[in-house]
């Protein structure tokens, strides 16, 4: 299971690393519908812009690290069973 965890984690890091180059930049389903039906302009910008807004190339790795960290910390709060 340890090896499998390394593989899945490695694939996650690789995907996040290359996403900026390979992912389609076309609007997703909801964005597309909002544009077509004319309610996209209702979207409001956040008060402060995060440096990671819209996933600049390579920053997906930050998200991967945060989610991995969350999982490790949450795993420590599991109740011990007998």
């Amino acid at each position: 299971m340890k090896r499998a965890a390394w593989v899945v984690g490695g694939v996650a890091a690789a995907l996040a690393g290359i996403a900026g180059w390979i992912a389609s930049t076309a609007p997703d389903g909801l964005e597309r519908v909002a544009e077509t039906l004319g309610f996209a302009s209702r979207g409001t910008a956040p008060a402060a812009r995060s440096p990671f807004a819209d996933y600049p190339a390579g920053t997906g790795l930050v998200g991967v690290a945060l989610l991995y960290g969350f999982g490790v910390l949450f795993g420590r709060t599991l109740k011990r069973k007998k």
Partner: protein
């Protein structure tokens, strides 16, 4: 289908935020009490994997893209209780760090994708008695379609557009992205199961 800030009216988002908090609290406590500790390493790597996979937008028809949501994938591997917790963490990181999905709309997005998306994704697998290919595909399709349906109801309550075109276009697009979700989820589950059968949820002890 992450709803940004501004699309939902305050009564709609505030109600959904208020409902999401106790719901997630329940799933956190339930997971802490029952999740198999020996499978704890999955929590981090599956969360990281689904976060990364969500970044890969692929074209769906002309001028539109879709990406994996991963509710069924998390449910089949972590079990539905832990899957709800991990998907919520993904949505929180996306909203707060990457400004993908609104902060006020977080409750709506959590209920749509982390609660409904995970549990509807798990339902066919539960009924089939295990992660059979057809059940995983059906679960993945259903998770996307139902999450989109709920988002559409919330947008309709916020009166963003007239209902006919809103429901037709939202459900039409997501019925198609659901097929991609199904294909990717089936492939991912098979690859992960081959890597380690213990990565697949087999019910609680």
């Amino acid at each position: 289908m992450h709803i940004p800030d501004g699309f939902l009216t305050p009564p709609v988002w505030a109600t959904l935020d208020a409902a999401a908090i106790p719901a997630v609290g329940y799933f956190v406590r339930r997971t802490q009490a029952r999740f198999d500790e020996s499978r704890a390493p999955l929590l981090g790597v599956m969360g990281a994997f689904v976060f990364a996979a969500q970044m890969i937008n692929f074209p769906v028809g002309v001028g539109t893209s879709g990406h994996l949501v991963g509710g069924a994938l998390l449910a089949v591997t972590l079990g539905p209780w832990a899957a709800t917790v991990v998907m919520t963490a993904i949505l929180v990181v996306q909203a707060l760090v990457f400004q993908d999905g609104g902060v006020t709309a977080l409750g709506a997005n959590v209920l749509n994708m982390a609660v409904a998306g995970v549990w509807l994704g798990y339902l066919p697998v539960k009924l089939a008695g295990g992660p059979r290919r057809g059940a995983v595909f059906a679960g993945a399709w259903l998770s996307v379609f139902v999450a989109a349906l709920l988002a559409t109801v919330q947008l309709s309550l916020s009166r963003v557009a007239s209902d006919g075109p809103l429901f037709a276009s939202m459900l039409g697009i997501h019925a198609v992205t659901g097929l991609a979700e199904g294909a990717i989820t089936v492939a991912a589950v098979e690859a992960i199961e081959r890597l380690s059968p213990r990565f697949v949820f087999r019910g609680e002890a």
